[in-house]
Symmetry: C2
Subunit: 907 residues, 2 copies
């Protein structure tokens, strides 16, 4: 019989911290804490394997589970000296989810399980606290009906009003009728009355009785936790975080400890170091006479744990350090023991029941990018961790966060009068955007590439997609450990929570500031997520990579990585930016990009003339006109990167992209070529293509119009010679795009060689250094790589196009189906974001292998957008590419990903 | 030292017929004839290897060649008893090209080489025929200046008037001034005068003297033949015929024999059997007092060789059988000897010099498809060749010709009064089209898919592309062995030559019939190429596969081939046609094709409703409306093919293809859906794609709209059950298109399984036979084939799309560059016509191999348009596909190609 149930508790623990896959993170760490001798309430963990079998069996428990649970419960009862479902001395338990990887608030928890008409009198008798018992009972009824009876049964509330909302409304109405301000004002009779009303409502709405039986409750709760693994929000979260669907969750059944047994009880969460800054200071929040859900739910602003946790919002509230100094000292001792043991910053949950401290959970704490960097470098300095460990401690997303903008302090000071509210600094950095009030609107803004700030009373797990889409988040409720705060910290997204002074009307889509000013949807505001300040209007932003440890950390990366990192840059300015971020060269300079945007009218005009030429003579004239512009840009870029290689891609895009659209521009162009407007329009018509992505572009232009290739070769080679005369060595790599056959390269190389001879003659030089290589972006090029390497001195994988052709997915058109593909698990990830290892990656590996059979020292890199995506970088390291090339801002991330890949996979 | 020069001649021959690669076809066969003891004038062949080296050396002869030529010439001199360049007894030679594969008229020949002021007197003395010598001299001057001094030097005539045309004009003018009708009217003085004028003109136009030195002449002529290998027309011909550029040509230097030494001399060409019908009758044409070029050039209508060669056009001219019975008898003897030796129909050239017969050439003769079939089956019956040889004797193109239309005899009879001219029946079949007068116009018509008939005074090698493009060819001049006749016979194209009664004005673009009626460009005419009749207007056509030997031959093929042949058919009518041509099933039934064309308004309307639905409800309603139409077509097709497998492809094309374009249609559609016109247009706008070929199509539609897949599955499965109830077994294969990942198939199979259960329940049946497979048309599908085969029961390679994605070539857009790619030899062939073995073929082979590792009995076929292209069929055989599927008319060709592949490569 397979072991599905693992005990934990002092002296009776089956598991340990290394068993996360089987026991989930929470279960494994509970076991580890118990092994360390910390005060963990006894309980047991039902394994993730059991969850997987549960789904395989279409929702039936595997054989033997019931017996194992009964046995474990028996052990826990003995340990706690209480009996589950007993009339005299009843044990209550919590049922919590716990996957391998933390999924904050995405799955379900049920507390106080085991309370029924049979056990209530005994518990009242034992606790001598009738109010506490009925408060626990009404909580159980509310949670259980929601989680077990409704959600787990996949009941869709008819009007969107789930049972929980209906019970909440009854509670609020009742409090109002009685004139109560807080839940704590409810007395025993109130609670008894409410429990009865709740139970009737449940029958009315769900057509079933709330179970008045401890065993039925426990089984229901365990099943509901399993089912919550496939709940809508959990699935959506896994999709975003890339967590596999087949991991399953464990269920932790643990003896209940009550933080709500009066003023000598409390509950809290804490981080062993500051999760926002990384400072080595114990940091937490707590609430007296409360259960854990009260702290996390964000419905009450919690008290600070200690002096170091005090801030503008909570400094008037009593800290635990002040109120319960002895217990606080015990907690500090536990904090130190845990940090020494785990060698990392931990996020802990504790409960105090009538002055006795219990540890309910510990896990590696989420942190901001700044904090991650600071902690890693501190711990490295302290000798606590190795260099490689320090590198592994910062995720690429956290590093990305450091590169994100913050509000410019000067601009912020100047606009101080615009500050309309303060809240808790829950997510770092700065954000500027239009106000939106719903997750849907945030997603719409993102689709339209409009920056937005999501303003909400509070966020909940249903909001994750909108939170992801928004540039910043501002909530009126919640603390530093509220849903919004945890999620944003994980993503490094700018976020302010608990700005309670705001009056938000989500229906009218307005928010009223403390000064009475009203902001509407679409108004622009700015957030400083590092300080918790919100401003009316747009505050200028600057970049945040000035952390003093940043450069040290980056240098460390370069020591460990073997993969080169270059940047894609199309202008001298971009090239300088890239060099600043540590790029070791330019992996992709796109000749045609100088023609985009404003201020490029003259070269664009010449380009258009070239495109619409219909004879070689016309074309040569236009090409000659274009030459000085092309040369100027190329030369400046080579100069900016002097000493480092620059890969210049020959003209690539479908020509029709450059055809002028207005009649005036067309007329002007026609005049300059000396043809009529009608003729020009006819020529333009001919250039239109059904599938331009697979049309007359790249090397195909060079084959039909050799003069265009010659012009580009001349611009590059003359620049190289002239810079050499200035004493600068500029290794230029000419890259031919859209190649599918070695003959194309042969043809272009012949043109380049001829130009090279002409340039040598013109400048009277003997030699001329340059390389000619190719993009591998057409499947056939990857297939024929062994032959192409006979001609090409380097390969650069153009994974954007390669992905398009390999999948037959037009990047511009996948909107119609990619959502369904991800939702229906047809694909694991959008292949334009992460290299598809199975198809595109297979071609890359094949091409590198075959190419190097032909040319042993073939240089190979990647210049598609995935070049800055960590998983793709790891893949590039694995298949032996020489470098990745990505946008300048992604260069540090690529350096980190490359170092981590080298550590994980070997150099 | 490499041997570059091979002698031939009685008792001194170095080569034989098996050495075609080295000696070219002509050289090898001259050697073989000499070995057989036939009267071959002595000479030598310079090898194709020498030609290849000549081009490698940039136009320089390889070392040692001069010495080997001198030695060989010496041997020939001894054999002939004459000395090259000698004053007393000069030997003259011809220099002719001769590639491995015959390239009629595409390369150059120079005759009478060796005549100079030094040798002329001696030759006059020896022949006692001054007129003959000067006639030979003026021919040499005309040919040499054209071929050696102009073309081989790549001199582009300034006004398009080459030296040859200018000399021709002088000749014509002179004859007119003298009142001469024919060249034979020129006397010695005329010829002497003309030679002088020609030589002056040459200096004037080309700036160089005609060489008055025998050795210089020989070297020049040899070099010119080499160079003609890379002449424009030769390159263009090779491109069309698929002959590799690196074969090179041999040069045959042969002692001159003169058919123009008066009335006891003659020259002729003959076929050992009738090349048009295949009848076992000696067939040829000859001219008294002429050189070979006169027969082939088509400038004189030649005499019939014998009674059997007589026809309406030449029956008044004397046959050789009548005029020179003894020599004719000798020729018949040679004919029999050659046929016995070569076991095939031969094309021979002979010359009679003063009553002595010499063989100048023999080669396997070109023939019509009808002739090829008749000869092969005859020779098989005679026991001369084996079944396999008979199969190899007919090229797929020749078979194609048999399948091409002929004029419907009844219609032709009814329109007899429309006949406006008769000519020689040079190319088989019937053709109807608009008159064009230039090759360029013919090409334009083809591009616009307009049928055309190319009408010309005579054709020349510059016209090949236009001849290829035209549906039929009609010329006023030339015989059955003229350029037009030879080329058209090779292609199986309808052609009439020698319709001398026509007055063609190529400048005015008019043609006047004998009855005075004038036809202009664009007028429609019809040709019967089998009889040589041309008609005004369009005569109905029918198909010509009724040859009595056709069915016998086709049955023979099926005995030899192992590759299955299916057809692509989209309607029950197509399916019946396909079955008639021997299709063993339907390899591709495209559901959406029922919506194209007229008479399909109702289902098209329902389809459009489905496409423009924006909710599941709307879509389900439209799908239900569509269902009966889809089921009706599918059921009828399955019934038509009962007992044979039918592969039904699920809906594939980008949806926007079906959106109505007119406002009326849009309004009607909007009304029927119950939305406004604006809404409809908005929905249509959303469906537009940048690259529809890589957009929302194929299985992607099935993933986003499962109800569409379900409807198709239901239509198929209900049809299968209902037909089974009629006692018909209809194996249906459901094919999911545009698949790139096994998960897509999994998803669709789940839908199909569910429908299958519903259908079983509806009809109360226990089992339901069907297969589910996939198109492999996306590179990733080929790469992941091993995994896809876990889900797919069969693969069908969609090589149209696979070629698009593998090359990144949009089939609709390659017009802009494919021409340059072929002209500049970047690609050998258009990959949409012949499977690209290196890229697309590599993927196919990979997919078959990987697929069969997973599923040993995986059925694999091809349904792209290359499925009926012989080289591609051979490839499919080689990589082990189970079947090819092509358009019904290509089925017999695929059967032939499959049989030939099995014979060549083994079953």
């Amino acid at each position: 019989m397979k072991k599905y149930v693992y005990l934990f508790g002092k002296g009776m623990t089956d598991g340990n911290a290394s068993m996360k896959e089987l026991l989930g993170g929470k279960g494994a760490n509970l076991a580890e804490m118990a092994n360390l001798g910390l005060p963990v309430p006894a309980g047991f963990t039902i394994t993730t394997e059991c969850c997987v079998e549960y789904f395989k069996n279409e929702g039936k428990n595997p054989d033997g589970l019931a017996e194992q649970i009964a046995e474990a419960l028996n052990a826990v009862e003995k340990h706690m000296g209480m009996i589950y479902g007993d009339k005299e001395n009843p044990l209550l338990v919590s049922c919590r989810s716990g996957a391998r990887s933390s999924m904050h608030g995405m799955m379900e928890t049920v507390l106080n399980v085991g309370l029924s008409s049979a056990t209530i009198p005994g518990l009242i008798n034992r606790t001598n606290n009738e109010r506490f018992v009925y408060d626990a009972y009404r909580r159980l009824i509310m949670m259980y009906s929601d989680v077990v009876m409704e959600k787990a049964e996949n009941i869709e509330p008819a009007d969107g009003q789930g049972i929980r909302k209906q019970l909440d409304a009854i509670l609020e109405e009742y409090k109002e009728s009685k004139g109560y301000a807080a839940d704590t004002d409810l007395n025993v009779d109130d609670l008894k009355y409410l429990c009865d009303v709740f139970k009737k409502k449940i029958v009315e709405v769900l057509g079933k009785e709330f179970p008045d039986d401890a065993v039925a409750q426990l089984n229901g709760a365990i099943g509901a936790v399993f089912k919550s693994w496939n709940g809508k929000k959990a699935v959506s979260y896994r999709r975003i975080e890339g967590i596999p669907d087949d991991w399953g969750t464990a269920v932790n059944v643990q003896s209940m400890i009550f933080g709500n047994m009066g003023d000598s009880s409390a509950t809290g969460v804490a981080f062993t170091r500051n999760p926002a800054t990384g400072d080595n200071k114990f940091y937490g929040e707590w609430l007296v006479n409360a259960q854990g859900e009260d702290v996390v739910a964000g419905t009450r602003t919690p008290n600070p744990l200690n002096d170091e946790t005090k801030n503008e919002q909570n400094k008037h509230l009593a800290s635990m350090q002040e109120m319960l100094p002895e217990i606080y000292a015990e907690l500090v001792g536990i904090r130190n023991a845990l940090e020494n043991h785990f060698r990392d910053m931990l996020d802990i949950e504790f409960t105090i029941q009538e002055k006795k401290l219990f540890m309910l959970q510990c896990r590696v704490g989420k942190r901001t990018g700044t904090a991650a960097l600071t902690m890693a470098m501190y711990m490295l300095e302290e000798g606590r961790i190795t260099e490689a460990e320090a590198i592994m401690r910062i995720s690429p997303n956290q590093l990305d966060e450091l590169l994100h903008p913050i509000l410019d302090p000067a601009a912020e000071k100047a606009m101080a009068a615009n500050k309309f509210v303060e809240g808790l600094p829950a997510g770092p950095g700065g954000a500027v955007g239009k106000i939106v009030f719903t997750s849907e609107d945030a997603v719409k803004c993102q689709e339209q590439k409009i920056s937005c700030i999501l303003v909400r009373e509070e966020t909940n797990p249903e909001d994750v997609e909108g939170m992801r889409a928004a540039n910043g988040i501002l909530t009126a409720r919640g603390g530093m450990t509220s849903h919004a705060a945890l999620v944003c910290r994980g993503w490094g997204k700018c976020c302010i929570v608990g700005a309670g002074a705001l009056k938000i009307n989500e229906t009218a889509k307005t928010v009223i500031a403390p000064n009475g000013k009203e902001y509407k949807e679409g108004d622009i505001i700015s957030l400083n997520g590092t300080r918790g300040y919100a401003y009316e209007g747009a505050v200028a932003t600057i970049d945040a990579s000035e952390n003093p440890r940043f450069q040290k950390f980056m240098a460390l990366l370069d020591k460990y990585r073997s993969l080169g990192v270059r940047a894609n840059a199309d202008t001298p300015a971009d090239a300088l930016q890239a060099a600043k971020f540590g790029a070791e060269g330019i992996g992709l300079f796109r000749t045609e990009h100088m023609f985009y945007g404003t201020g490029a009218e003259k070269p664009l005009f010449a380009l258009r003339k070239m495109i619409l030429s219909s004879t070689v003579e016309e074309r040569v004239a236009a090409v000659n006109e274009l030459f000085p512009f092309v040369k100027k840009d190329i030369k400046a870029t080579l100069k900016a990167m002097a000493g480092k290689p620059v890969t210049i891609r020959f003209l690539d895009p479908p020509l029709h992209e450059f055809i002028p659209h207005t009649k005036e521009q067309q007329q002007e162009l026609a005049d300059s070529i000396g043809i009529t407007l009608e003729d020009l329009q006819k020529r333009a018509e001919v250039l239109k293509e059904s599938n331009p992505m697979m049309g007359h572009r790249g090397v195909r232009l060079g084959i039909t119009y050799p003069e265009i290739s010659a012009m580009q070769a001349r611009a590059i080679l003359e620049s190289v010679v002239e810079l050499r005369e200035e004493g600068l060595y500029c290794p230029a790599e000419m890259m031919i795009p859209v190649v599918c056959d070695p003959n194309e390269l042969k043809h272009q190389k012949a043109i380049i060689s001829k130009v090279a001879e002409e340039v040598k003659a013109k400048y009277d030089v003997m030699d001329l250094d340059y390389m000619v290589g190719t993009m591998i972006e057409i499947p056939r090029a990857a297939i024929r790589a062994g032959y192409i390497a006979e001609e090409a001195e380097f390969f650069s994988f153009g994974t954007n196009d390669l992905t398009q052709m390999t999948f037959g997915f037009s990047r511009d058109d996948i909107g119609g189906f990619i959502g369904d593909y991800l939702r229906k698990s047809v694909l694991d990830a959008d292949p334009f974001q992460t290299i598809d290892k199975d198809g595109v990656g297979w071609l890359i590996e094949h091409a590198v292998t075959e190419g190097r059979k032909t040319r042993k020292k073939l240089k190979a890199g990647i210049c598609g957008e995935q070049g800055g995506e960590p998983k793709s970088v790891a893949f590039c390291h694995k298949v032996g590419l020489n470098y990745v090339s990505c946008s300048p801002f992604r260069v540090p991330i690529a350096r980190l990903a490359a170092a981590q890949a080298a550590i994980m996979l070997g150099k």
